[in-house]
């Protein structure tokens, strides 16, 4: 089983992108950082007790699925859209959604475009290997517009092309657009258009068939979300682990019940996951939140209590 | 000299070829060859080009396989059994028209290679043997050179020494002098005469009729894949019987 393999190896192999600032990118020292990276580290902390025991495997759109199904990686956390066919036909298991996204467009301000409906005849840079090119084709066909796609393998090159004016529009997930724009020299010269043309629930996934491992990934993610809901943060987790009067918090942190044991882990698993990089909200703020260069607002990704979609099933 | 040599021929059979036939594809190169070579005998094979002389000699050494008939070398039947082939090859030495020395090995290494790897002789011993035979062919001082540094005549003598190092009981020569300049031919023929005088069983394809007259016990004349005539050299040259032989001799001697 994957859990045993990971434990025996002592390292979690986690598939990420080849580099998308805010979600997963190596810094100048080769250290991986980002929102997706945070999920990997949380799982590693939960399973192995060490958030650094992760081997990050950069994957492209093309290689990510084989990497996962061949067992080269244990977990794919690479803003991958949860779709029916990937779940059912490609035999993967999405363990949840860590970011609710949608495909958007970015254009230079100088073009004076304010709506995606005005894009007829445009040249559009797309990062291939994602659902984006399908959405794009659908959207333009639906609106009876024509366009010229410029398919590009990596975000870095798409960015280059876009900046050099080889395409008028860059389209990818809105979060990716924000991240890309943030890396520009003059982010203010570019606008993200208001239309969101697709639903892109992004989430980590594992291989189909190993449900125990899937449960661990799913509930680690849920623990991060629930932690935010209940106010468990990396700062107060230790303290709360001494015991609180909320049974749900106690069950999460392992002071009550035997949830960890049911997962095949120890009692502290969720606490470690939270300590690894903070709860969902902390990860968000640190990597892609409004105070980062990427500057995404919570939007749909707020807790259900705040009108968002984040809704962790109960820990009981 | 021919008389002296004659005496060493014994009754033992060295090579026995019975009713041997060979085809290249559908081309019938050798037809019903029957030949018995006695130990110590020196046979010269002559004949026009393409008559199958080389092929005959190469069959004895299993360089070519024959399709019909039997070849027995030194009591061993030449069959497709590898053991027999190996046995025969180590009994039979062969000297080629183009020497076929190994250019990447020194003369000494050329001579010791087979003794070491085939006969499993210790290297030192093999080298001693090799030097012995190199002295015999009168080029011990070239032992550390490479074949490319020797003249054609010297190379051919090395080739002879290389064969001798395997201490074969039978030597085959396929036009050993025809790729040589006239001056060098003599060197090589001298070496061969010397060998002959020591009683080595020899089969030699050559057009050197002088050599044949001086050394051979028997001259075999081939044409169109058959042995047309064989006889003692004196008889053969002075009194050929067959028309074909007469024609051939007139050409070759006139030349």
């Amino acid at each position: 089983a994957t859990l045993d393999d990971v434990k025996a190896r002592g390292v979690l192999n986690c598939g990420v992108t080849t580099g998308l600032v805010g979600f997963a990118a190596p810094d100048a020292n080769g250290e991986w950082n980002g929102f997706d990276v945070g999920v990997c580290r949380a799982v590693a902390a939960a399973v192995l007790g060490d958030p650094t025991a992760v081997e990050f495997v950069p994957t492209t759109g093309k290689t990510r699925f084989t990497a996962l199904s061949s067992g080269e990686i244990d977990l794919l956390a690479r803003n991958t859209t949860w779709t029916f066919s990937r779940d059912v036909d490609l035999k993967f298991e999405f363990v949840g959604v860590n970011y609710y996204d949608g495909q958007g467009f970015m254009v230079p301000k100088a073009l004076g475009v304010s709506s995606a409906k005005e894009l007829s005849g445009a040249t559009v840079c797309i990062q291939t290997g994602t659902t984006t090119e399908l959405n794009l084709a659908d959207y333009f066909r639906k609106n009876n517009m024509d366009y010229q796609p410029v398919p590009i393998e990596t975000n870095a090159e798409a960015q280059q092309q876009y900046l050099a004016g080889a395409c008028d529009v860059y389209t990818t997930d809105a979060s990716g657009l924000a991240a890309t724009r943030a890396a520009f020299e003059n982010p203010g010269d570019h606008v993200v258009l208001p239309e969101i043309i697709s639903k892109e629930p992004l989430g980590p996934l594992v291989r189909h068939g190993d449900n125990d491992w899937g449960d661990i990934a799913r509930w680690t993610l849920n623990a991060l979300i629930a932690a935010e809901e209940y106010g468990i943060t990396s700062a107060n987790a230790e303290e709360m682990a001494q015991g609180t009067d909320s049974p749900e918090i106690n069950r999460i942190l392992g002071t009550e019940g035997n949830l960890g044991e049911m997962l095949g882990l120890d009692a502290d698993w969720a606490k470690r996951a939270i300590l690894a990089g903070g709860n969902y909200g902390e990860l968000f703020e640190k990597n892609i939140g409004e105070n980062t260069p990427i500057g995404l607002s919570r939007g749909l990704n707020a807790q259900w209590t705040d009108g968002g979609l984040l809704y962790s099933p109960p820990f009981r | 000299m021919a008389e002296a040599a004659q005496m060493q021929v014994s009754d033992e059979v060295a090579v026995q070829i019975e009713n041997m036939n060979k085809w290249y594809g559908t081309f019938h190169v050798l037809r019903d060859i029957d030949l018995t070579v006695y130990r110590g005998e020196r046979i010269v094979i002559a004949g026009p080009s393409g008559s199958g002389k080389s092929t005959l000699i190469r069959c004895i050494n299993a360089l070519e396989e024959h399709q019909k008939g039997r070849i027995t070398v030194d009591g061993t039947l030449l069959s497709s059994d590898l053991k027999n082939i190996d046995k025969i090859r180590s009994e039979v030495g062969m000297v080629f028209q183009h020497f076929n020395l190994f250019p990447h090995l020194t003369i000494l290494e050329n001579c010791t290679l087979a003794p070491i790897w085939v006969r499993k002789t210790p290297k030192r011993e093999a080298e001693e043997t090799a030097m012995h035979f190199l002295e015999k062919v009168k080029i011990p001082e070239q032992a550390d050179k490479y074949p490319g540094q020797l003249s054609g005549g010297q190379q051919q003598r090395v080739a002879i020494a290389r064969s001798l190092c395997m201490r074969p009981r039978i030597m085959l020569f396929d036009e050993p002098t025809s790729a040589l300049d006239p001056e060098m031919i003599k060197e090589v023929l001298d070496t061969m005469v010397e060998l002959a005088e020591e009683g080595m069983t020899m089969l030699c394809v050559t057009h050197e009729m002088g050599f044949a007259q001086a050394v051979a016990n028997r001259v075999i004349f081939m044409d169109a894949g058959q042995i047309v005539e064989q006889n003692e050299p004196k008889e053969f040259f002075n009194n050929p019987k067959h028309e074909r032989t007469k024609l051939f001799l007139s050409q070759i001697l006139g030349h």
């Binding site: 084989t66 445009a122 040249t123 084709a137 280059q160 080889a166 008028d168 | 019975e18 009713n19 029957d34």
Partner: protein, 404 residues
């Protein structure tokens, strides 16, 4: 002498499998075959086991499903509703297109550079040596990226042509070099244009006919007609004449900046241009070496013999040196063509949608059918290379010099 008999048929012993030349070959081949079969069986069973574990299967049904993505250069009709199969064919045609263009261009570059390397002019020689060495010793991928970068980073975007005082302007008001590609005027075929086209084709045939006639005349009567300018005249004049007589039936549609891009005219994609020229210049360096080697392989004696017969340098080249050099040049030339075709698979580096980009790229991604897609992809390249090798064999057999 003795009673003749074949070697006695020995009864078969097991040791004969190794010791007998007749059987040994069978033994070895059998072992090799078994090993290969075992290897395949092993790989196959792994595949089956892995696929079963992952709940997948091998199926080519995805080829019939609609592809749902768009391709920016399609030589045949294609929409996002077409099937994956059609998308693959679009990719195949794009591969063939870029390979063809690159082969032609590389040959021209290579021949010029190769001949220039033998020029008596020292400077030209050295310059060409510099070109050849620079391109042969740097990976083609780097050249593709460099040339693509020139395309995108150096050439102006269409927006630069906009405004009162644009940063860039069109060449002759008709041709625009942009980082999205080259915009050219497109012909509009008015009534009567068919005649012009036919006349044009006829005049091409005419050129060949004229040259043929001139040679025949020389052979028959010894009269040597000039070749150069009459050919040119036959090539151009009739078409021009008909064109104007019919009142200019063919007009040009000029590309014009409208909206985001130039509209009208034809566009040659930037990625196509980058890949095409990168492959052409890179392979041109190799071809230059072949050409040089080929010409040098014709011994000096041939030229001297021809010269001493009184032939002029140009004729020596045409009648004596080239026919011989071509035999040396063409086989490696063909394998260079093969290399171009194979290297064109690097199209993904510049986003050109060749077959690796469609079948081996987006289709593979969207359907997840990695094994099937890559298998088909390899099959395609294999077919091309087998076809080219076959061609080469035919050529080699036809051109082999007759020897004794």
């Amino acid at each position: 002498m003795t009673t003749l008999s074949d070697p006695p048929r020995e009864s078969f012993r097991l040791s004969m499998l190794i010791n007998d030349t007749r059987y040994r070959a069978y033994t070895f081949q059998f072992i090799a075959l078994m090993l290969v079969l075992a290897l395949f069986a092993y790989l196959g069973s792994n595949l089956v086991a892995n696929l079963r574990a992952a709940g997948l299967n091998i199926s080519y049904e995805f080829l019939g499903e609609s592809s749902n993505y768009d391709i920016n250069q399609t030589l045949i009709d294609y929409t996002s509703q077409s099937s994956h199969l059609r998308a693959s064919i679009v990719g195949v045609l794009n591969t063939l297109l870029v390979a063809f263009l690159a082969c032609v261009t590389a040959t021209i570059i290579g021949v010029i550079a190769g001949v220039a390397r033998l020029s008596p002019n020292w400077l030209v020689r050295k310059l060409m040596a510099g070109y050849v060495e620079a391109f042969r010793n740097v990976p083609v991928l780097i050249w593709i990226i460099i040339i693509f970068t020139i395309m995108t980073a150096v050439l102006p975007a269409p927006s630069a042509f906009r405004g009162e005082d644009p940063d860039a302007s069109m060449l002759f008001g008709a041709v625009a070099f942009t980082n999205r590609g080259l915009y050219l005027p497109a012909p509009i075929w008015g009534p009567g244009s068919l005649v012009v086209v036919l006349v044009f084709i006829a005049s091409i045939v005419g050129v060949f006919a004229y040259r043929r006639y001139a040679t025949k005349l020389l052979y028959d009567t010894g009269k040597l007609l000039p070749m150069g300018w009459p050919s040119l005249a036959i090539f151009i004049l009739p078409t021009l004449l008909v064109y104007f007589l019919l009142g200019r039936p063919i007009t040009l549609e000029y590309p014009e900046l409208a909206g985001f891009n130039f509209q009208g005219g034809t566009q040659i994609l930037g990625s196509l241009i980058a890949l095409w020229w990168a492959l052409a210049i890179y392979t041109g360096a190799f071809i230059a070496e072949n050409v040089r080697a080929g010409i040098q392989a014709v011994s000096k004696g041939q030229t001297e013999a021809a010269a001493s017969l009184g032939l002029r340098p140009k004729r020596i080249m045409n009648l004596v040196v080239l026919p011989q050099a071509l035999r040396v040049i063409i086989p490696p030339l063909i394998s260079n063509y093969l290399n171009i075709t194979k290297n064109s698979s690097l199209a993904i580096a510049v986003g050109y949608m060749d077959v690796t980009g469609t079948l081996g790229g987006i289709t593979l991604n969207q359907t997840g059918r990695a094994i099937e897609a890559i298998l088909l992809l390899m099959l395609f390249y294999l077919l091309i290379s087998l076809a080219i090798s076959a061609l080469m064999n035919v050529y080699n057999n036809a051109m082999r010099l007759k020897e004794r």
